[in-house]
Symmetry: C2
Subunit: 211 residues, 2 copies
DNA sequence: GTCTATATTCCGATAGAC
DNA sequence: GTCTATCGGAATATAGAC
């Protein structure tokens, strides 16, 4: 993410405060205090409070959509594609200092100033549902409702974000594979495949890290 | 829930608005407009805005804790107890006109005026984790992290509440068993048991309905 | 780029008439 | 039990000095 050091600090602390107290529960004064500047100084870097959240969501959606494209590009089973996507995009919580994925279902995006984000989130949700549908059609997944699964992912990632922002001792490094294992166990027609699927994801994540 | 008709209308519309826009994103004027009264008239029925949310949470926690006690009282396997609790407490979304379960992880409860609710929610989370741990110790469940499972339930129910409040066409009647099946499939050591476990829950829910 | 000072709007809550 | 009128405080955002 580009911008001056102060600008990055604003994004970092805003993401953490939004995660703890929500968008409306966080004031521009709270953000400024966390950064160590006065409240009006925020408006030199951002034209409005909602621009801060919009930029956080845009950056995260770009990365998450990239993870989806990366997963789809693998020449492998739907189970491995899905598991990799879930683990990799969840793991991005760890490597990014801030993350707004948990807001993907938030009612905040019904506000007119967030229309661009709402439309992009809808596209992302649709593509996630298509990934699940493909696995169902191929017989790899049980006849689950793709909309339910997509909403389950959103709920689990929202809760994961909350856990990171509200619980300093959260064992966050285990969560990405816990989450992807949890969802795959719930949808796989043959749960015995999970061990191999997980191993494939681990080797792909290692490859991504090295290259 | 006791109280005059207007008081019940306030609780109903407040729950829906909190679900759509969050606690801070909902103003007392929004609630009053939905009920069809003027904003100060709210304060004849409730001494403060936070008393509205507190009452919603108290009523829901009473019911949910009752479901947990009911599930624990059954002389059966941990899988059947857990599945019944998840389906029954999720189904309460349908029979109650309003519900605040989705807020159980909300940062709002770190505010001092919600201390009572925070402590009761912590007790509820602990008991849920104990139910999962018992199933793990008995070998019925995989060696999952009870804290992760409890947070997963919270995330899934939060998303379920959001779906009900933001999507008028949501197929909400299927969600309770979808949710309990989803979680049980993810934790059962022997996934083949799910059919029987689900059947047991369905017959228990029928029995509960008949009295 | 950050500051002080302040405009403006909005929110929760109270007072008192009916 | 609901209303009109309004208070006090807090929130976002702007103006202009440094």
């Amino acid at each position: 993410m580009t911008g001056s050091r102060t600008r990055q600090q604003i994004l970092l602390h805003a993401a953490r405060l939004f995660g703890r107290h929500g968008y409306y529960g966080t004031t521009t004064r709270d953000i400024a205090d966390a950064v160590g500047i006065r409240q009006p100084s925020l408006f030199y870097h951002f034209s409005a409070k909602h621009q801060i959240l919009a930029e956080l969501v845009d950056a995260d959606l770009r990365q998450t959509m990239g993870r989806l494209a990366q997963a789809e590009s693998f020449d492998t089973s739907w189970a491995e594609r899905f598991h990799f996507f879930l683990a990799a995009s969840s793991r991005d919580y760890l490597t990014l200092p801030y993350d707004a994925r948990g807001y993907y279902s938030d009612a905040i995006f019904t506000e007119p100033e967030f229309q661009d984000q709402r439309l992009e989130i809808e596209r992302f949700h649709k593509r996630t549902q298509q990934l699940v549908s493909a696995g169902v059609d191929a017989g790899e997944f049980l006849g689950v409702d793709p909309v339910f699964i997509q909403r389950a992912i959103t709920g689990l990632q929202f809760e994961g974000m909350r856990e990171r922002e509200t619980n300093a001792t959260a064992p966050v490094s285990e969560r990405p594979l816990q989450l992807s294992d949890f969802i795959l166990r719930a949808v796989l027609s043959d749960p015995a495949r999970l061990g191999a699927v997980r191993a494939a994801t681990e080797s792909r994540l290692d490859a991504v890290d090295r290259g």
